[in-house]
């Protein structure tokens, strides 16, 4: 660098370096507030979780004892965690399937229906605007055994024998949570599918019509494959949100009856705050994080491959 032959080059370089460092300092200035807040309130506590997950900390005492992998060993063995994991998976698979089927059906309806298109779209979409707490409460009231509308309707139409405690019965509590969450969530994905549908050129279905394809055939061989991009997005988004479900369960069943609707997020909250086993709670939280990561990566891989094939 210091050789005389390169003096001219040095000048150019230092000028561009000055420009570069100016650009860097502007960029840093612009990025800094986000960087600081994000690091402070997302990354630091996440690293804190990683540390705590190796301890038996109860969240209150001064002493933090390092216990190695004991929390993870307990997670591996605990029937309660297994049950929560099973519930989470049942919930996730059912929600992802039902929400996407419902969303595609609704998108098709809104796309094809001749009158009041926008009104229908708004009606379908509206439940997604509600908070999980409000929606959970409304559904809990509808499904209440003694005073709920649903049982009242069943009684009124002579099906009183079918009236059961929808949220107090272990078989139906999960179904009730799933269906009410589909009601709340499907509209969001409908919007995405609708955008996908509107991107399909009209000539394609016209051509299929002329070829005499039935409605189902059209959907199966033309519309659905062309929705592949939307499908990837919706599957991933609905999976992540299903794995994180919390509010509805807190309001509708409190994880019960027994442990019938206890999910991973719920157990993390219960164990970490209600039972003061924060070491164990954070270990569980990391397991959830890794689970979300793995499921998302696998899904994106598989679904992207499908997109390419078509």
């Amino acid at each position: 660098m210091g050789t005389p032959a390169s003096t001219a080059g040095l000048q150019v370089k230092s000028k561009s370096r000055r420009k570069k460092s100016k650009a860097n300092s502007f960029a840093l200035l612009f990025i800094l507030p986000s960087l600081v807040l994000y690091t402070l309130f997302v990354i630091v506590p996440t690293l804190g979780s990683v540390y705590l997950s190796f301890t038996s900390w109860d969240g209150i005492s001064e002493e933090v004892r390092f216990i190695g992998l004991a929390n993870f060993a307990e997670i591996w063995q605990s029937p309660r965690v297994h049950n929560a994991l099973k519930n989470t998976l049942i919930l996730t698979v059912s929600l992802v399937l039902l929400e996407n089927i419902a969303a595609i059906a609704m998108a098709l309806m809104v796309d094809r229906v001749r009158w009041f298109k926008n009104l229908f779209r708004s009606l379908f979409y509206f439940p997604t605007l509600l908070s999980g707490v409000v929606m959970g409460f409304v559904w809990a009231m509808i499904l209440n055994y003694n005073f709920g509308v649903f049982n009242q309707i069943l009684n009124a139409v002579g099906l009183g024998a079918w009236a059961i405690d929808w949220l107090g019965n272990p078989d139906y509590a999960m179904v009730s949570i799933i269906l009410s969450t589909v009601w709340k969530g499907a509209g969001y994905y409908m919007i995405i599918y609708l955008a996908g549908l509107q991107g399909i050129p009209a000539e394609l279905s016209e051509a299929a019509n002329i070829d005499g394809a039935s409605g189902w055939q059209q959907f199966r061989f033309i519309t659905f494959p062309l929705l592949a991009g939307s499908l990837t997005v919706c599957m991933v988004l609905s999976t992540i949100s299903a794995l994180k479900i919390f509010d509805q369960i807190a309001v509708m069943t409190d994880g019960g009856p027994g442990f019938a609707t206890e999910t991973l997020t719920y157990i993390i909250y219960k164990v970490g705050f209600g039972e003061l086993r924060q070491g164990f709670g954070t270990a569980l939280a990391l397991v959830l994080f890794v689970l979300i990561l793995i499921v998302t990566v696998i899904q994106v891989q598989i679904l992207r491959k499908r997109e390419v094939r078509y």
Partner: protein, 441 residues
């Protein structure tokens, strides 16, 4: 709060009638007023936070009224009531408060040892000890100013429903009790309402059976369980839980898992159900829901006809947090509040609102309903065995703090899933042992 409709006017000198020692000194009283007065003069404004179990609306109102009156009389002390009723159990709530750093300065403590071991609370200031008759000690230390003594739980029944079903005599044995249930069911009414959405309410029944078959014989059962000398899978516990399951599957109102505790009174008075199993604090809720409702109270006997009830003292009550104890001004304010709370004029209102039994040395009087009188008779009857709920024992008999809720939920699962009792008890043993182990880590 006190409904004047009560038929018999019983002046209950409870403390005196219940407890043997009668060293009737009342220096506590004079000091209480002077304590309150002296804090009036200090110019500095003191503030402290207050947390208590607020599940029972009448008790909640009584406490918040007392707080309000105290603040009116002591304008330089501000009490910030942070209680709320959103968590599924009081212990969960308290721990959540603790986890986020909001442990109350003055707290109604029910799990004294757990928080004492964690260093969160301090012993009751010694000058307050004289207020109470015999505050329970944990390893020789008194931590709490007991809000009231433990009261018996039993059946609160609708007299009309019993008459309609042709029940004339109250049951003398558990089998007679079951016969009554059968009669009620046959008369077309739902025999029992249970507020199972609140897990503690279902616990009333669990403990009734545990006391009959386990604690009445062996008050040290918990410590033996911790040492693995006895097990939930033992015959007596299996019997208790079999009875529990049978009762719940056959005679409990179908919607019990979505019924919260504070809806049970209105379901009882509405005639949808004939009985409710709870403590004496429920009386005021029932009278609130329907002042003309006729009800009675009795303890459910066991198979041999013995009566075993909750009624031993346990370490619970107002407790100072370690944090607050570091601040002398706060400590003084809290002490004057405690004295104020237990002044007979104040304390009687609180006791009346939940039909409680006073813990103070000083006599406290309020009018008791006939149902309350039968509860007091139980307490005074030497033939009635007094015991405690599973989570109220202490010392070596303390169960792992997170066990109770898990245990109750497991039992819910057993009842609704029609699980095999012996099999469930084995699972419960495993979890208990695992929690003991996890806590020792």
């Amino acid at each position: 709060m006190i409904k004047p409709k009560t038929k018999g006017w019983f002046a209950v000198t409870l403390a005196a009638s219940l407890l043997l020692s009668a060293c009737g000194s009342s220096p506590g009283d004079t000091q209480a007023t002077s304590g309150a007065a002296s804090s009036d003069e200090g110019g500095e404004k003191v503030s402290f936070t207050l947390g208590y179990a607020s599940g029972d609306p009448a008790a909640r109102k009584a406490i918040s009224d007392t707080v309000q009156r105290f603040m009116d009389e002591n304008p330089n002390i501000e009490i910030k009531d942070i209680s709320d009723n959103s968590a599924s159990s009081y212990l969960d709530w308290l721990k959540t408060k603790d986890a986020v750093g909001e442990f109350p300065d003055l707290v109604e403590m029910r799990d004294t040892e757990v928080f004492a071991d964690a260093g969160k609370i301090v012993e009751l200031p010694s000058d307050l000890l004289e207020l109470f008759e015999s505050p329970p000690e944990v390893e020789g230390k008194v931590w709490n100013a007991p809000l009231a003594l433990n009261v018996p739980q039993g059946i609160i029944y609708s007299k009309k429903a019993y008459a309609d079903a042709g029940v004339t005599d109250l049951p003398k044995t558990y089998d007679e009790f079951l016969a009554v249930q059968e009669k009620l069911k046959a008369s077309g009414i739902s025999p029992l309402v249970v507020g199972g959405k609140d897990i503690f309410h279902m616990g009333f029944w669990v403990n009734k059976f545990l006391i009959d078959d386990v604690y009445a014989q062996d008050p040290d059962w918990n410590s033996k369980k911790t040492a693995k000398e006895v097990a939930f899978a033992d015959e007596n516990v299996v019997q208790a839980m079999t009875d529990f399951k049978f009762l719940f599957q056959n005679y409990v109102d179908k919607g019990w898992l979505s019924t919260p505790d504070n809806q049970t009174a209105s379901i009882l008075v509405s005639g949808k159900a004939a009985q409710l199993f709870s403590g004496t604090w429920m009386f005021s809720q029932i009278e609130e829901a329907d002042p003309n409702f006729e009800y009675g109270f009795y303890a459910v006997p066991d198979r041999e006809g013995h009566v075993n009830i909750i009624g031993l003292p346990s370490p619970a009550g107002w407790t100072l947090s370690a944090e607050a104890a570091k601040d002398p001004a706060k400590t003084d304010a809290i002490k004057s509040f405690i004295r104020y709370f237990f002044e007979p004029e104040q304390y009687s209102l609180y006791l009346a609102s939940l039909n409680g039994i006073p813990s103070t040395k000083e006599k406290v009087e309020y009018e008791a309903s006939p149902a309350m009188q039968s509860a007091l008779d139980l307490m005074n009857d030497p033939d009635v065995t007094k015991s405690l709920a599973i989570n109220n024992w202490w010392g070596d008999n303390l169960i792992p703090p997170q066990f109770r809720n898990w245990f109750y939920k497991k039992l819910q699962e057993m009842v609704v899933g029609d699980g095999d009792v012996a099999d469930y008890m084995k699972q419960i043993d495993t979890e208990y042992d695992a929690q003991v182990k996890a806590n020792s880590m």
